[in-house]
Subunit: 239 residues, 2 copies
Amino acid sequence: MKTERIEYQDGNVTLCGFLAYDETNMKPRPGILVMPGGFGLGVNAKRRAQMLATLGYVALAGDPYGDGREIDDLQEVMKEVTALRADPVQFRRRVQVAFDTLVSLPQVDPRQVAAIGYCLGGTLALELARDGAPLKGVVTFHGGLETQRPAVAGQVKAKILVCTGADDPSVPVAHVNTFAEEMTKAGVDWQIIRYGHTQHAFTYPDAATRGISWIAYNKLADERSWKAMQSFFEELFIA
Amino acid sequence: MKTERIEYQDGNVTLCGFLAYDETNMKPRPGILVMPGGFGLGVNAKRRAQMLATLGYVALAGDPYGDGREIDDLQEVMKEVTALRADPVQFRRRVQVAFDTLVSLPQVDPRQVAAIGYCLGGTLALELARDGAPLKGVVTFHGGLETQRPAVAGQVKAKILVCTGADDPSVPVAHVNTFAEEMTKAGVDWQIIRYGHTQHAFTYPDAATRGISWIAYNKLADERSWKAMQSFFEELFIA
C-alpha cells in the first residue's frame, strides 16, 4: 500500500490531505473521501484511509482546517468548528475541494465515489450529499446531523447511512428524528443505525486520552458500524 | 436440505411448526427460532427457515395460533392477536414452548440459539428475550416493540437488533424511542436500524396481495435487513 501527502486549495488556504491506495492496482476503482472530526486530520482518519485501501478503495482523508493542523484542546476545537460553520457556503466548499481532489485522481473511477465522516467530518460529508455532489453514498460515524441548508427534494444523489450512538449528547434523538424527516421529505435513500450504550466519538480508540467526559471508545459499536459500512459499499459499488 | 412438520404443545393447544436443516450435517449447530407475523405460519416464515438452513443453521418456524392455522382477513388477525396478547403470561408461553422445542432437538447446540420474528413474531421474540431466555440474540423485522412487561435490568441475555421501517404506522418513532429507553435502562446490548421510505411488512414479497394500504414489500430494506441479521449472527456465533 502506498500513502502520500496531497496538497489542495480552498481559496488561499492550503489543505494537506492523506492519500492511501494499492499502488500495484492499475485500474481506476472506487474512491472514498474520509472527513475527520474536529480534532483535525490525525491518526484516526489516516488509519481509516489505510483500512479502506486494504479493502481495495482509493481513500483520501481530507483536511478540515489547513496545513493538516490538529487541535488538542476542546475549546479550541469548538471555536474552529463554529468559525468554519458560520458561513454555510464556505462550510460546504471545504469538503467540495476535497471531493474534487479525490475524483481528479487517475486511480479513481469518478462515477464510483462515496464519502465517510466522523463527528464534524460526518456533517461535512452530509453537506456534500445535500449539495447534490455525484456521490454513490455517504456514511457518518457519530456525525452531527443538523444543517443550515436542508436537503432539497430530488437533489441528493447519495444514499445515506448514519451510524450514531444512543448516548451521544451531541447527536440527541431529536436531531436523529429531524434528520430522518428531512431525508424522507427530500426523497433520499436513508438508513440510520442507533447503537445502545454508545457515546460520542465511539470509533476513536484514543477517546479516553482526550479528557472529555461525554466521549468514549466503544469497540463493539466501532466494529459493527465499520462492518455496516462495508456491507453498504458492497451494495453501492456492485455493477 | 430437509424440512419437516413438527408438533409441540402449549397446554392443550397443538402447535405445528416447520423445521428446516441440512440433514447431511451430523454436528449440533446454532439453532434459530423464526416467529411469524399475525397471518400465521405461512410461506414467508417457512421460506426464511429454509434460507437459514442454507446458511447452516437449524431453523424452526413456530406456530402462533395452533394447527398451523393461517388467517387472511386483517380483522380476524387483529382479533386473534388481541386475544393472544390479553394475558401476558400466556403470550410469552406461546413463544417459550417453541423455543423449548428448538433447543431440545438433537441437531441444535442449545448454547447457540437465537430468535428472529416478523410483526407479531418480532414482538414474541422480544418477549422471549425480556423473559430472560438463554438466547444469544434476537432480530426483529417490522416487529411490534411495545410490551406489558418491560425488560428488567440484568435479566436479558440476548443481544438485540431491531430492523424497522420509518413509515410503519404500527411501529411509530415514539415506540422506537420508548423501546430504546427500556433496553438502555435494562442494560441490554441493543441496536436499531431504521429504513427510510419503508412501510410495515417490508419483508413480505406478497404484501401487496393483502389489500392493506399501510403494508408494502420493500426489496432494498428486505435485503439490507437480512444482511444485517447475517452480520449479527456472525458476531454472535463466533467462538
